[in-house]
C-alpha cells in the first residue's frame, strides 16, 4: 500500500507539486499518468525519500521510506537509468546493493536471470544500451523480492518484446497481491497494464480511480486524458 497525502514541493522558487494525494493498493497495478514535466518523477522521488517535500507525507506500508529497515525487502524501486556506476559490471553493482540490505550473493544471479541479463553479468554498466540499463535497474529493484514496486517510466527504451515482458511481469506481481505503482507518459501502454489510474498535470492530481471509471464515456484513456487536462482548470 502506498499513500501520498497533500504533498507540496517547491524547487528553487518554483512550485512543482500542489497538494498531491493518491493511493496505490495491493493486488493492483496503479498507473501514474502525466505528460513530461507534470511532476511524476518528483512525486516518486519524494515517496522514496530522495527529495523532501515542503509539506505533506508519502508512506509505504504506513511508514516513510527512510524509516524502513532493509527497505529492499519491502520496496523495489526503479528510477532514471540503472543506478550503476558506469565502470562497474552488472554483477558488481548488484552485489553491493545486495550486501547493503544483508541479501545473499546468490540472489544476484537469480535476478539477473529474471530480467534476462545473465549473459551480460560481467559487462560494464557504461556499455549497456538504454533497454539493458532499465533491465539492470529492475534487477536491483527485485533483489529483496519486495511486496511493493515503484517504477518510473519502466518501458522507456525497451523493445516491443521487452515491453510485453514487462507488462506480463507487472500483472503477475499484482496477481500475487503485490502493490505496483508505475509512472508513464505512454497512455496506450498504461491502458494495457493498469487497473487504477492517477492522472497528474502541471503538478496537480486531475483525477484518480479505476481505469474504466477514468476513461468514462471517452473512447480511450488518451481521449479522457486530454479532455481532463485541457479543460482550462486552475492549471
Amino acid at each position: 500500500m502506498i499513500t501520498v497525502e497533500r504533498v507540496n514541493k517547491i524547487k528553487g522558487k518554483t512550485p512543482i507539486l500542489y497538494d498531491v494525494s493518491f493511493v496505490a493498493r495491493p493486488g493492483r497495478v496503479t498507473g501514474f499518468l502525466g505528460p513530461n514535466g507534470a511532476g511524476k518523477t518528483s512525486t516518486l522521488r519524494i515517496l522514496l525519500g530522495l527529495d523532501r517535500p515542503q509539506s505533506g507525507v508519502a508512506l509505504v506500508c504506513g511508514r516513510p521510506y527512510s524509516g524502513i529497515d532493509r527497505p529492499l525487502t519491502t520496496v523495489g524501486a526503479l528510477l532514471d537509468g540503472s543506478g550503476a556506476h558506469r565502470a562497474r559490471s552488472a554483477r558488481a553493482h548488484l552485489r553491493w546493493v545486495a550486501a547493503s540490505n544483508g541479501l545473499p550473493g546468490s540472489r544476484v544471479d537469480e535476478v539477473l536471470e529474471i530480467v534476462g541479463l545473465a549473459g551480460e553479468a560481467r559487462k560494464r554498466a557504461g556499455r549497456f544500451s538504454l533497454g539493458m540499463s532499465r533491465r539492470l535497474g529492475l534487477a536491483a529493484a527485485l533483489l529483496g523480492d519486495p511486496e511493493v514496486l515503484v517504477l518510473d517510466e519502466p518501458v522507456n527504451g525497451l523493445d516491443p518484446a521487452g515491453i510485453r515482458w514487462m507488462r506480463d511481469f507487472l500483472r503477475e506481481r499484482a496477481a500475487r497481491g503485490h502493490t505496483v505503482l508505475l509512472s508513464s507518459h505512454l497512455m496506450g501502454e498504461l491502458a494495457e497494464t493498469a487497473d487504477d489510474v492517477v492522472v497528474i498535470a502541471k503538478g496537480r492530481i486531475v483525477t484518480q480511480g479505476v481505469l474504466a471509471d477514468v476513461v468514462g464515456d471517452h473512447r480511450t484513456l488518451e481521449d479522457a486524458f486530454f479532455a481532463l487536462t485541457e479543460g482550462g482548470g486552475p492549471w
Partner: protein
C-alpha cells in the same frame, strides 16, 4: 551496520579510480626511498625524519580514495539519462542518510588505515635496508601518527567532496596544494597563524626537523588537525542530510 560497511567496501574497491589511489598511495613512497637513496647517501643526510618525509609523497592515494568514495556517487551513470547517478541507487538501498555516511566513513577509514600501515611499514623498512645503521628507526608513536595523518587527510578530501558534490575541485585543490605549490605552506611565510592550517599542523604530529614557523607539540598538532576535520565533516554531513539527492 556491518552489512552497510561491507557494501561500501565493495563499492569503493570496485572502482578503477580507487584502485589507482590504492596502488599510488601504497607504492609511491617506497619507490621514492629507492630512487633517492644514492643522492641521500652522497649528501650524507640522515635526519630524524628520513623515511617519514618520503611518506608524504604517497598521500595522493588517501586523497584520491577520500574524493572518489563520494564523487563516484555523483557522476552521471550514462548518456541516456544524464541526471541519473549512483546516489539514487545508494539512497534507495540505504535511505537513512546518517547511517549511510557512518558506513562510508568507516569503510574509508578502514581502507586508508590499512594502506597507511602497509605504506609506512614498506617505506620505513626500505629506508633501513638502504641506509642501514646511519638512520634510526622512528619511534612507533611517530609512525602511528603518520598513519593517522593519512587517515585524517583522506577524511578531509572526503568531507570537502561531500560539500562540493564533485570530485574535480577537491582533487585538483588537494593535489596542487600537496605537490606543485603548497598554498598552505606559502601562507606560513606570511602569517604564523597558517601553521594551524589542517595539512601543515598535522605534519607536526610526526615530523621533527622540518621548517615549521611555529613549533607545535605532536599531541596538540593531532588535536588541532582532528578538530579541523571534525568541523569539515560536520558541515559535509549536515549538507548531505538536508539536500535533495
Amino acid at each position: 551496520m556491518v552489512s552497510l560497511i561491507r557494501a561500501e567496501l565493495h563499492k569503493l574497491l570496485g572502482l578503477p579510480t580507487a584502485r589507482i589511489g590504492l596502488l599510488l598511495g601504497t607504492l609511491l613512497s617506497p619507490l621514492v626511498v629507492l630512487v633517492n637513496a644514492p643522492a641521500v647517501r652522497r649528501a650524507g643526510l640522515a635526519g630524524a625524519d628520513l623515511g617519514l618525509v618520503e611518506l608524504g609523497v604517497g598521500l595522493i592515494g588517501p586523497m584520491i580514495l577520500g574524493v572518489v568514495i563520494v564523487s563516484s556517487e555523483f557522476t552521471s551513470t550514462g548518456d541516456d539519462a544524464p541526471r541519473a547517478r549512483q546516489l539514487t541507487a545508494t539512497l534507495i538501498a540505504v535511505p537513512h542518510r546518517m547511517r549511510l555516511l557512518t558506513a562510508k566513513t568507516a569503510a574509508l577509514v578502514l581502507v586508508v588505515g590499512v594502506q597507511a600501515i602497509v605504506a609506512a611499514a614498506a617505506t620505513i623498512g626500505l629506508t633501513q635496508v638502504m641506509h642501514g645503521d646511519r638512520v634510526q628507526v622512528p619511534a612507533f608513536g611517530r609512525i602511528a601518527a603518520a598513519a593517522l595523518y593519512w587517515v585524517l587527510l583522506a577524511l578531509l578530501a572526503y568531507a570537502i567532496t561531500l560539500i562540493t558534490r564533485n570530485g574535480i575541485v577537491p582533487l585538483t585543490l588537494l593535489i596542487v596544494n600537496s605537490t606543485v605549490v603548497s598554498v598552505s605552506y606559502l601562507l606560513t611565510k606570511v602569517t604564523s597563524a597558517a601553521a594551524y592550517l589542517p595539512d601543515i599542523v598535522g605534519a607536526q604530529m610526526f615530523l621533527q626537523g622540518s621548517d615549521f614557523p611555529v613549533r607545535i607539540a605532536p599531541v596538540t598538532a593531532g588535536l588541532v588537525m582532528t578538530a579541523w576535520i571534525a568541523a569539515f565533516l560536520a558541515v559535509g554531513a549536515v549538507l548531505f542530510h538536508r539536500r535533495d539527492a
